[in-house]
């Protein structure tokens, strides 16, 4: 394997108002190499990559690309240099076809100037997809594809620029194991072709399979670059968080109260859910496992009245309650923490206080006037209690890291005094250190008597946290297992029960 250096960043610093996002960071990339960049959320991985792809301007530092000093001042320039980035949030246009998405902005108009040559475009796209062994029709609308397939389209698009450097920011966060495998196959193809791949992921176990080197950054500072063969996951984690974290844990056996707080009977929806029933006890963490599309999020949304149910009853402490809208659910003391915090959980452009009191504003009012003192007080309490890292309660939530944003959402529901909390992928997009804090927080909440439904696609997380584990498959609940009887193979069996 050639070890010619393709790219190097040295001494890169970047400051946002009030935050030093990067301080003297180094990173380099060789031809034919997969170089992983890891660090906690807010460590500065994305900022570094946005500098490299021309979205942000660096304050200081140098970028050397193929032996020349370069100044990547815009995304277009990055493309011209041959640097492509695949963002964590997909940037595709759902109403356009696969081919149109791949070639957007570079449509082939040679024949008759103002008109697109669709046939040519489709042919080129087909060739590209074949090259990457992707089984996709160039004429399909992107909106009709699964998230995983859309991810593949993004990769094809990045490859189509024929650049030398491809940056992948959390490419596997929404992929199944099989899909992850096919992504790795593509990455290996790119590697063999001498491209350099920067790979950002929170799934550390993947790094052993796919990366050659691993660079760790923490709090905007460069920590260390390791050869993957000479290191192991615990070492990487301890470098990321600056201490050691236990990976494979089970919950302490908590004295279980037998009071049933929530009873769900036969919930069905028009499209997916079929006759789902379960009970949730006081102080319990009930994990919900299942594959993508098994209906766990849909169950949560139907339960809180965000989507209509066609059938089913909900009992709170033995009393039937009619939940027709999220406000009914909140009234009943059920708080929902979505997997997509930015879309469904937070007011990003508002401050911490506002977000913390959002679900309980009437409780902070007198004659319709909001009492600002108590509101700020409760926000400061929440910041202290949940260890939310923010300069003050007046900081805008969009400036916080993922883990701290999640804590703000938790604070919102605690302020509302909800007894039942539904966490949908509580640690999605959250780094290892902050994950640990979220886990501790969930355990603490449960031991204080809150009842928690925890939807998670990460089996170690489900096994670590849940007292009991409910498994769903294709809209049905296929089993509820006690933690002591559960392991990954058992859960997977239930999760695939209704499959052919």
């Amino acid at each position: 394997m050639a070890t010619a250096q393709l790219l190097s960043l040295s001494g890169v610093s970047k400051e946002f108002p009030g935050v030093k996002a990067l301080n003297n960071v180094h990173f380099d990339l060789n031809k034919g190499e997969v170089h992983a960049l890891v660090g906690e959320n807010g460590a500065g991985k994305s900022t570094l990559m946005k500098i490299l792809s021309g979205i942000y301007k660096k304050d200081t530092g140098e970028i050397t690309y193929q032996g020349n000093h370069v100044n990547v001042s815009s995304p277009i320039e990055a493309h011209h240099l041959g640097i492509s980035i695949i963002h964590q949030e997909l940037n595709l246009m759902p109403h356009l076809t696969v081919a149109e998405n791949i070639f957007i902005g570079r449509e082939d108009r040679k024949k008759v100037r103002p008109f697109l040559n669709k046939t040519m475009q489709n042919k080129a796209a087909a060739a590209l997809l074949a090259e990457l062994s992707l089984n996709l029709d160039p004429k399909t609308l992107v909106g009709d594809l699964t998230i995983a397939k859309q991810q593949m389209v993004e990769i094809a698009k990045a490859v189509s620029y024929r650049g030398e450097v491809i940056i992948m920011d959390e490419p596997t966060s929404s992929l199944t194991p099989a899909e992850t495998e096919s992504l790795f196959a593509i990455i290996r193809t790119l590697k063999a072709a001498g491209k350099g791949v920067v790979y950002i992921s929170h799934r550390l176990e993947e790094l052993e399979q796919i990366s050659d080197r691993i660079t760790v950054i923490r709090d905007g500072e460069y920590v260390k670059t390791l050869n993957t063969k000479e290191t192991n996951i615990p070492e990487v984690i301890s470098l990321m968080v600056g201490r050691t974290v236990d990976q494979d844990q089970r919950p302490d056996v908590r004295p279980m109260n037998s009071d049933v707080v929530l009873k769900v009977e036969g919930i069905s929806t028009r499209n997916l859910l079929k006759d789902v029933s379960f009970e949730l006890k006081r102080g319990e963490i009930l994990g919900f496992a299942g594959l993508m599309g098994s209906g766990r999020t849909e169950l949560a949304r139907a339960l809180i009245g965000a989507d209509p149910k066609t059938d089913g009853k909900v009992f709170l402490k033995g009393q039937e309650v009619k939940i027709k809208s999220p406000s009914d659910a909140v009234e009943a003391g059920i708080g929902y923490l979505s997997e997509d915090r930015k879309r469904f959980g937070l007011l990003l452009i508002q401050n911490v206080t506002f977000n913390v009191i959002l679900a309980s504003i009437p409780g902070f009012t007198k004659f319709g006037f909001v009492k600002s003192g108590p509101a700020a007080g409760i926000a400061r309490d929440a910041i202290a209690q949940l260890k939310i890292r923010t300069p003050s309660e007046k900081q805008l939530v969009k400036n916080l890291s993922g883990g701290n944003q999640q804590k703000v959402v938790i604070a919102k529901w605690l302020t509302r005094n909800c007894d039942i909390l539904i966490f949908d992928e509580p640690t999605r997009g959250i780094d290892v250190g902050a994950k640990d804090e979220i886990y501790k927080l969930l355990t603490k909440l449960a031991s204080e008597g809150k009842s928690i439904i925890m939807i998670s696609s990460e089996l170690p997380e489900v096994l670590r946290m849940s007292d009991r584990i409910a498994v769903m498959c294709e809209g049905r609940l296929t089993g509820i297992i006690d933690n002591k009887d559960a392991d990954q193979p058992t859960i997977m069996q239930y999760a695939t029960k209704y499959r052919d």
Partner: protein, 338 residues
Amino acid sequence: MSDVLKTAGEEVQGESKIKEIIRREIGQVLALGSLVVLFAFFSIMRPVFYSWANVSNGILMSTTVTGLLAIGITFVIITGGIDLSIGTGTALCAIMVGKLVVAWHLNLAGGVIVGVVVGGLLGVVNGILITLLKLPPFIATLATMKAAQGLALIISQMRPIHFADGVKGWDQIAQGNLIPQIPNGVTILFVGATIASIILNRTVLGRYTFAIGSNSEATKLSGVKVDRWLIAIYALCGIYVGLAAVMLTSRLGSAQPDLGLGYELEAIAAVIIGGTSILGGKGSIRGTIIGALIMSVLINGLRILELQQEWQYVVVGIVIIFAVWSDNVRRRRAGDVS
């Protein structure tokens, strides 16, 4: 009257406090600065510009109608919505006030109540179309804009309604001087702005206005009855439309069925110049008032400089572009990218 939750717990060190306020409210500081500069410029060019007669009647009085409309629509724009019906809604309210005051021999208070009720109902209709029928605000209020225009013409049978024979002292609502030297219309504008600012910054309705504009889905999932609050917000906007209609009729001494179309765009321009984000979630009444004053000073000043009306329009267009562009540049510099 600054944002209550932002200033909450603002017992920070004395000297950095002023700096912080300036940094946070830089958009408004700049807008206010432009207003002062414009005022100084016209005053130097034509000293008559800063005479009290011109300031009170030429500038402030001519701000009352669009100013009140702009205050109302500020709430709607902060929710991320728009209300195109406020212009022709003004005409409809004016005609209803005129008809009922004359027909029922209402006193002044009765007339004002009619205006506010009709405006509020128009707002409720807009709110219902947007929430229950789920029409986009632009479409819903485009429809009610046309409907209000038609109704104003139908009800008035296309004839102006004169107040002189209906109610005594109707002209005093806007033109009297409860406070010496200051026309009532101006007093009402500033009282209306103060009340709106208190509502926006300190009440539940105001908090939900910002919350809905920041992320209506998250607000709904937090248990807020977003639909009801939206209807209330559009109704509040309508109430200001009713007030604007009363001011207009009082100044003219009559209700004109075809006067109002286009006012909505003047009001929206004032809101935008004042720094309220058309994307929702950000904005202030103070900014809106500054924006409305900038428009009035500009128009009045250009008129005194004897610039032709056609050219006045062009200048206003350029000012809008400049205001929004400079605001964008500033935000981008501050790293305030979304």
